[in-house]
């Protein structure tokens, strides 16, 4: 049995009905243009808002579990770094359901000790991002759902964060789905790469396999030029069948 079973995931007008099965120990990267449904898929997996369907984690239905149990099963990091109240970083991380020991571990891992005396409204955007990431990681959930976790981070922290996520899912019984825009980083870190387009999965497979197919050019309108990406030479008309598999 796989670790996570997303069944009939859908969000009206934003995500077509999708089934998604995730194996333990895998890091899945989710790429796609703006508005392609990455966040909607994460929302549906996390059971947020009007999304429908169900997420079974080790056979346990996420939507039917109590708030006290949820953080041990799945946590979600939204793309927004907005916060409502000027809390201290440790208090904020504790709101996510982590124990004091877990908070200590992840505060050390993400080097939050230096920023601790300040409240979150006095942190830089990057520092605030690390606090919010610690909030999502610290309860050590079975399933990590991260929406653009590397946004606002400097290059060193982008690398360190993805290394941390890699190490987290390398442990037994855990998996992560990470939405991101950096295709090269996605290829480097992912065990599995999913390309979203127009609210549906356009391609799903090993990163090299997916990146080697024409789907990136078709979905994003960009193509490889040596070591970097460039806009595709000819205007790209996505084919009628956007579910074309690699």
């Amino acid at each position: 049995m796989s670790l996570v079973d997303g069944l009939g995931l859908a969000l009206a007008g934003r995500l077509e009905r999708t089934n998604l099965r995730l194996e333990a120990g895998t890091l899945t990267c989710l790429v796609g243009p703006n508005g392609s449904g990455k966040t909607s898929l994460l929302h549906a997996l996390a059971g947020i808002g009007r999304s429908s369907g169900g997420t079974l984690i080790n056979g346990e239905d996420l939507r039917r579990t109590s708030p006290a149990r949820r953080a041990a099963l799945a946590t979600y990091l939204p793309a927004s770094r907005d916060l409502r109240w000027p809390l201290h970083p440790r208090d904020l991380i504790a709101l996510g359901g982590a124990s004091p020991e877990q908070i200590d571990d992840y505060a050390a891992l993400l080097e939050l000790d230096g920023i601790e005396p300040r409240t979150v409204d006095h942190l830089s955007t990057g520092e605030r991002s690390r606090v919010l990431i610690a909030r999502a990681l610290a309860p050590r959930p079975k399933l990590l759902l991260l929406d653009e976790p590397t946004a606002n981070l400097d290059p060193l922290w982008q690398i360190r964060l993805m290394d941390v996520v890699r190490a987290e899912v390398a442990q037994a019984d855990r998996a992560a789905v990470v939405a991101m825009h950096d295709l090269d980083a996605a290829r480097r870190y992912a065990d599995r790469l999913i390309v979203m387009s127009k609210g549906a999965i356009a391609a799903d497979g090993g990163p090299d396999q997916v990146m080697g197919s024409g789907v990136i050019r078709e979905v994003f309108g960009i193509e490889r030029d040596g070591s970097h990406w460039r806009a595709a030479a000819e205007p790209v008309r996505p084919s009628a069948d956007r579910r074309s598999s690699p």
Binding site: A46, G49, S66, R70, L95
Partner: protein, 322 residues
């Protein structure tokens, strides 16, 4: 240490309540000396409702303010600035003067309905997580509309004395209320305060954003509905008995969050204690007004609260909002 401070605020509020019962001591002492029964009646039927209403109404405004601020994620959302108290006043006036049901019970029902309508209108106008400007503008619009409709209702009322009658009540007054009237305010307020306090956990976690709170398994639609209904119930019942009293619901939660490390949900009970203390102090101040007359208590809270509000807006303007 924070728990100690919160407890001290509660104790201070109770001391204020006792002081409010006994002060001015001279008149009570004179009455008790002259006629013990009369003195006790004076204490029970005049002083007690007034002191208890200050306690209950202040606590209600504080806790509703804290819950509404936590819900909107905005330190300027309070029962008065969002138009809830004006909506409640309109509901009570229409019930009493247009429909002609002037009993405390009927007015309380009218006020709760008015408060509920204004809160629902606010969410419709300003959205669920409102920016400060939108929230204040929508609240201002609702207050202005409710105020105008209240005046209109009084002008159209069959009774020619409606304006005169309603004036001191509309300015907020705790004086000359009976024990049954105390009950009409206190029972719904107590239910609302205790229920709101039970929502502290989800409201705290709302600090992480709506998406995260939902991913943690909280039903935000239900949470929102509970806060709106409980605030309308408690504030509406208090407004029906004592009229509209401003600024307590704005100020108390701001102080309360300082005691809870910025946590908005668990500030509900401390805000209730601070609100009770503030309204009792305002009532005591209005009693010892040097004019030889009694000031309407709503005037006292506005005289202290409005400058505080301006200071708060200035702080937000410079990006130091708490």
């Amino acid at each position: 240490m924070r728990h100690g401070v919160i407890l001290s605020v509660g104790v201070l509020a109770l001391l204020g309540f006792a002081a409010s019962l006994l002060l001015p001591w001279s008149s009570l002492q004179a009455l008790l000396a002259a006629d013990r029964d009369l003195g006790l009646t004076f204490l029970l039927e005049l002083r007690l409702p007034r002191a208890a209403l200050a306690l209950v109404y202040g606590a209600m405004l504080g806790s509703a303010g804290a819950a509404i601020q936590a819900l909107f994620g905005n330190p300027l959302a309070s029962p008065d600035l969002t138009g809830t108290t004006s909506g409640a006043a309109l509901g009570a006036v229409v019930t009493a003067y247009i429909i002609g049901a002037a009993s405390s019970f009927a007015m309380a029902i009218g006020a709760v309905a008015g408060a509920l309508a204004s809160l629902l209108l606010l969410i419709g106008l300003a959205g669920r997580r409102a920016e400060t400007a939108t929230l204040l503008l929508a609240g201002l619009a609702i207050s202005a509309l409710a105020g105008a409709l209240t005046t209109l209702a009084l002008a159209l009322a069959p009774s020619p004395f409606a304006f005169y009658d309603a004036y001191s009540w509309l300015m907020g007054s705790l004086i000359d209320r009976s024990l049954p009237q105390l009950g009409f305010a206190a029972v719904p307020a107590a239910v609302a305060i205790l229920w709101l306090a039970r929502l502290a956990g989800p409201l705290d976690r709302l600090a992480l954003g709506e998406e995260v709170a939902e991913s943690l398994g909280h039903d935000l639609g239900r949470l929102r509905l509970q806060i709106i209904c409980l605030s309308a119930l408690g504030v509406g019942a208090c407004v029906a008995i004592c009229g509209a009293i401003g600024f307590i619901g704005l100020v108390a939660p701001i102080f309360a969050r300082r005691l809870t490390g910025g946590h908005a949900g668990r500030a509900i009970l401390p805000a209730a204690a601070i609100g009770a203390l503030l309204l009792i102090l305002a009532d005591l101040a209005s009693r010892f007004a040097p004019l030889g007359r009694t000031l309407p208590i709503g005037v006292v809270t506005a005289l202290v609260g409005a400058p505080f509000f301006l200071w708060l807006v200035a702080r937000m303007r410079w990006g130091m909002a708490r």
